[in-house]
């Protein structure tokens, strides 16, 4: 039996196609997913992300506990700021990618993916045991609504006195939006400027409605998971289960910068990761020359030999061509002449630098 967010009835009344995602009934799209994608690139989109997990870590040693439990250096994070980081196994395999907010000097909020947060909460609790810190899964205490796109500051600005202009990327502050208490974070997963609003579940519907109304004249559109996936793919952002799994390390995914070897003390995965900083395969961007789409799980080939695998692929609205991310053996990348085996026919692709799309500031 899959779970529903507090906004399910709103989605249904908007005519959304719902889909099961990580055990949740989530909107896949409301109408045309291309129109939703383009709205976020050119105006703004409204997303229900209430399936994400929120885990609070509190106490005098909360920062030290996270330094040990995660690959990042969280104890030096300023209150009000956020970091993208990861939790890995003792072997260095990625358990999840996370955003950690320091809400107060002794309180952090770890935001984890829907499919992983129960496991992440368990791991954090175990790893924090030697420290004076408490770990609490508070996912049921939050709904999460995102406003993403170039018009998002104007839309949110109509509903709050909070200093949105002063709020930096990867920062968060408590505030009131449309009269509701929220944590306003300048974060996102679309490659655009935008905000994520952590709100009490009972306030989710009126907050959504207030945002819809405020955004109506600024091109705001409700957006489903389909648009979210193509937006993050164009922005070169990894998705857990695709680019990141327990069989990949942060270095495999080209995200080795999140591993802070120079922080003091040991951390889970340190020994394993220090020997795996130069993997034999790389996560790369592929652009198809034809119109058929390389998709998750398709083999990447070079002179007929399999040299890698597609992790995510979709038609790109912004580029007008199919794009994909794939793990490819380093020696094959040097050789060139790659193709993707699309249901039996080898379609040529070009390797490009990630991201595929970068917004102009």
């Amino acid at each position: 039996m899959s779970r529903s967010t507090p906004l399910r009835e709103v989605h249904e009344s908007l005519g959304a196609t719902l889909t099961d995602f990580a055990g949740w009934q989530m909107p896949l799209r409301y109408g045309s997913e291309s129109a939703e994608h383009n709205a976020v690139r050119t105006a703004a989109g409204l997303f229900d992300l209430s399936h994400m997990g929120e885990i609070h870590v509190t106490g005098p040693q909360a920062g030290e506990a996270l330094d040990f439990a995660l690959v990042g250096h969280l104890s030096v994070l300023e209150p009000g700021r956020a970091r993208y980081t990861m939790i890995v196994t003792e072997d260095g395999g990625v358990l999840d990618d996370l955003i950690v907010y320091r809400l107060r000097p002794e309180e952090f909020m770890v935001v984890a993916n829907a499919s992983n947060y129960a496991r992440v909460a368990e791991e954090l609790a175990e790893r924090a045991q030697p420290y004076d810190a408490r770990v609490e899964d508070r996912s049921d205490s939050y709904a999460l609504i995102a406003v993403q796109g170039p018009n998002s500051t104007d839309i949110l600005g109509k509903l709050t006195d909070a200093d949105l202009v002063g709020l930096k990327y990867y920062a968060g502050l408590p505030g009131e939006v449309a009269g509701f208490e929220v944590m306003i974070a300048r974060t996102g997963y679309t490659g655009e400027d935008g905000f994520e609003l952590f709100v009490r579940p009972e306030d989710a519907v009126p907050l959504w409605n207030a945002l819809s109304e405020a955004g109506a004249e600024l091109g705001l559109r409700p957006c489903g998971l389909s648009a979210r996936d193509t937006l993050r793919l164009e922005a070169g952002m990894p998705l857990y289960g695709n680019e990141l799994t327990a069989d990949t390390t942060p270095f495999d995914a080209g995200l080795g910068r999140v591993v802070k070897f120079d922080k003091p003390g040991d951390f889970v995965g340190r020994a394993a990761l220090s020997g795996r900083t130069a993997p034999g395969r790389r996560l790369v961007g592929l652009v198809a020359r034809g119109r058929r789409v390389p998709r998750h799980g398709y083999p990447v080939t070079c002179e007929g030999e399999v040299v890698g695998e597609v992790t995510s692929g979709a038609p790109s609205q912004t580029l007008g061509k199919p794009i994909a991310m794939a793990y490819v053996a380093a020696d094959a990348l040097e050789k060139g002449g790659l193709a993707v085996d699309i249901r039996g026919s080898h379609e040529p692709v070009d390797v490009v630098d990630l991201p595929f799309y970068r917004r102009s500031k």
Binding site: T17, L28, S34, S226, D229, V293, P315
Partner: protein, 129 residues
Amino acid sequence: MSSIPDELSYTKEHEWVAGLDDGLTVTVGVTAYAAEQLGDVVFVQVPEVGTNVEAGDAVGEVESTKSVSDIYAPVGGEIVETNPAVVDDPSLVNSDPYGDGWLFRVRLEGEPEDLLSAAEYTTLTSGES
């Protein structure tokens, strides 16, 4: 509820067949229900004119943002025409699935089998959604 015109025949693979009355050449496309399930169609591959097909053969592909599906020949015969407009602009499958979004025409050989009436197809799709 997506439209299911009475005058057409249907397949379990969510295709429609028009023009069975004259028994010579039929037109084939995907249903509005299928188009809605697929989402925005971005690529259509149709069979080559002159190909001989049997009912049930995979003869092409419809690709959307999230998925790719085979197109099956709903009847046996020879492919006599394909729709260049839908190859150029695959979104016609979404905007006009029973009209400008048609895919190909088949010159019938033998009697079509296992096709569904509009009523039967309505029952099939209401059970799925």
